[in-house]
């Protein structure tokens, strides 16, 4: 029917108009600020406690822990480390701490209690995988370095980049960093973390979306605030994604 066809055409045109109007609105800084408002509300409501993400059993493990994100680092130093059992790699903790120091993988394995957790990883794209992660609690490692009272955020500097020279980075506030399930994982499914999943050390934050769980962590820096050199607090946050990724 001609009229039916016209109506369908008009409806599609209106929808497309909505999308285009949406584009214009999204690009307005004021609208952008308004649309970003729920993030604070979500953080205030959901971040008010430290509930644990559900922990699964070995039966629930995904057959493959899907990889996503940037290519693994390809620089000479990283490739050399990856072929020599990570001898020479050290995880640095610096910034607003009384005892800035670095840890070898051996030290991370032996100086701290190992926590094993089988948790679900929810990617912002919509899919989920379940994996077993092992390593020291981030909070235990931070405690040894003694954050000063001015330290409010923990920034994770990573070794991977977007192929255009921008390194991955992430950040948590101190409360999130001391969540009992926030891990500096050195093992995935009882094997050393594979290169494609963030070797040798991957942050794991199961109460937030996957992009918070930064791979290839090289240094941890305690800072008084985000902004400035730390942008919106993460690579994807700088592309418009929420800093609080609990929703």
């Amino acid at each position: 029917m001609r009229r039916g066809g016209f109506l369908a055409f008009a409806a599609a045109g209106m929808l497309a108009g909505c999308g285009r109007l949406g584009d214009t609105l999204t690009e307005s800084p004021l609208i952008h600020r308004i649309l970003a408002a729920p993030e604070r509300l979500d953080l205030a409501l959901l971040g008010a406690g430290q509930p644990l993400a559900r922990e699964y059993t070995a039966r629930d493990l995904s057959p493959v822990f899907r990889r996503n994100g940037f290519d693994p680092p390809s620089d000479e130093r990283y490739v050399h480390w990856s072929r020599s059992g990570w001898l020479g790699y050290r995880l640095f903790v610096r910034g607003l701490v009384e005892r800035p120091q670095s840890f070898s993988l051996y030290e991370l394995r032996n100086r701290f209690a190992r926590r094993d957790q089988i948790t679900r990883h929810d990617c912002v794209e919509g899919w989920s995988v379940i994996g077993k992660w092992s390593g020291p609690r981030l909070g235990d490692v931070l405690s040894v370095c003694r954050p000063t009272p001015r330290a409010k955020f923990v920034v994770f500097h990573c070794m991977d980049d977007d192929n255009q020279g921008t390194r991955y980075y992430e950040s948590l506030d101190l409360r999130q960093a001391y969540h009992p399930q926030a891990l500096l994982a050195y093992a995935l499914n009882d094997q050393p973390v594979p290169v494609e999943n963030g070797a040798p050390i991957r942050l794991k934050v199961p109460t937030q979306l996957g992009y918070k769980s930064a791979k290839y962590v090289q240094a941890i820096e305690l800072v008084p605030s985000l902004g400035g050199a730390y942008g919106n607090g993460g690579y994807w946050e700088d592309q418009g994604y929420e800093w609080y990724a609990g929703v």
């Binding site: 729920p38 919509g126 899919w127």
Partner: protein
């Protein structure tokens, strides 16, 4: 005429709270569906489980076309901002509306008139605007307000990793997080089906009269067709 129409009258059919929440929720649903498709496009597959079973999806679909998404360009981050903002708007509006919605619960009189009402709907072009919602109409609104819309809201909440930490039973209710995502998609289809039926009935029973009643509250009833 077998059933003479009652004398024409203008009745105050929709109170302000209904009119206001109707339009806010209508706008919210448009934004939620379009931004939801934007989010869906980032991984257009659904699974009947807690984690994704990539080789065995429940349903794998092509991406939604740009003219159905918000924003029109592909941008998951902006789609999420629109979606989560209007999820709050929709949820708060639904709370405001909920107190009034109890009027939609079918009563005994409605149940006894459901068959005749069904029969009247077999010739939809003869339906007219009435003083009160007819039993079938009431049942349709009842189903959407008390099952499809709550399903959309609750299955949406189950997708948040932080909410899942607070309430692990929530994704379990749907058979896992990925299953909740499939339910969320199904609820969207249900809402679209309702909206299609709703708009068709409005078009059949005097669209201008109906539209005006949802703006001013006053509906003309019982007049000549």
């Amino acid at each position: 005429m077998e059933h003479p129409h009652p004398s024409p009258a203008r009745v105050y059919r929709h109170p302000l709270v209904v009119r206001a929440t109707h339009w806010i929720m209508a706008l919210s649903m448009l934004v939620l569906v379009m931004s939801g498709l934007q989010i869906f496009n980032a991984h257009p597959a659904l699974y009947a489980s807690d984690a994704s079973t990539f080789g065995h999806p429940l349903l794998a679909l092509p991406k939604a076309p740009w003219w159905l998404t918000l924003p029109a360009y592909q941008d998951l981050a902006d789609g999420r901002r629109w979606h989560i903002f209007f999820a709050w708007v929709f949820g708060l509006c639904a709370l405001l509306y909920a107190r009034w919605a109890w009027q939609l619960v079918p009563n005994r009189a409605d149940l006894s008139r459901i068959l005749p009402s069904l029969k009247e709907h077999l010739t939809p072009w003869r339906l007219r605007a009435e003083r009160r919602a007819n039993p079938l109409q009431k049942s349709a609104y009842f189903a959407v307000v008390f099952s499809v819309a709550p399903l959309a809201i609750v299955s949406g909440l189950a997708l948040s990793p932080a909410i899942d930490a607070w309430a692990p039973w929530l994704p379990a209710l749907f058979g896992g997080r990925q299953f909740a995502r499939a339910w969320h998609f199904a609820a969207m289809l249900g809402l679209l089906g309702f909206i299609a039926g709703h708009l068709a009935m409005i078009a059949l029973t005097g669209p201008l009269n109906q539209l005006r009643s949802m703006i001013t509250g006053w509906l003309d009833v019982g007049g000549a067709p």
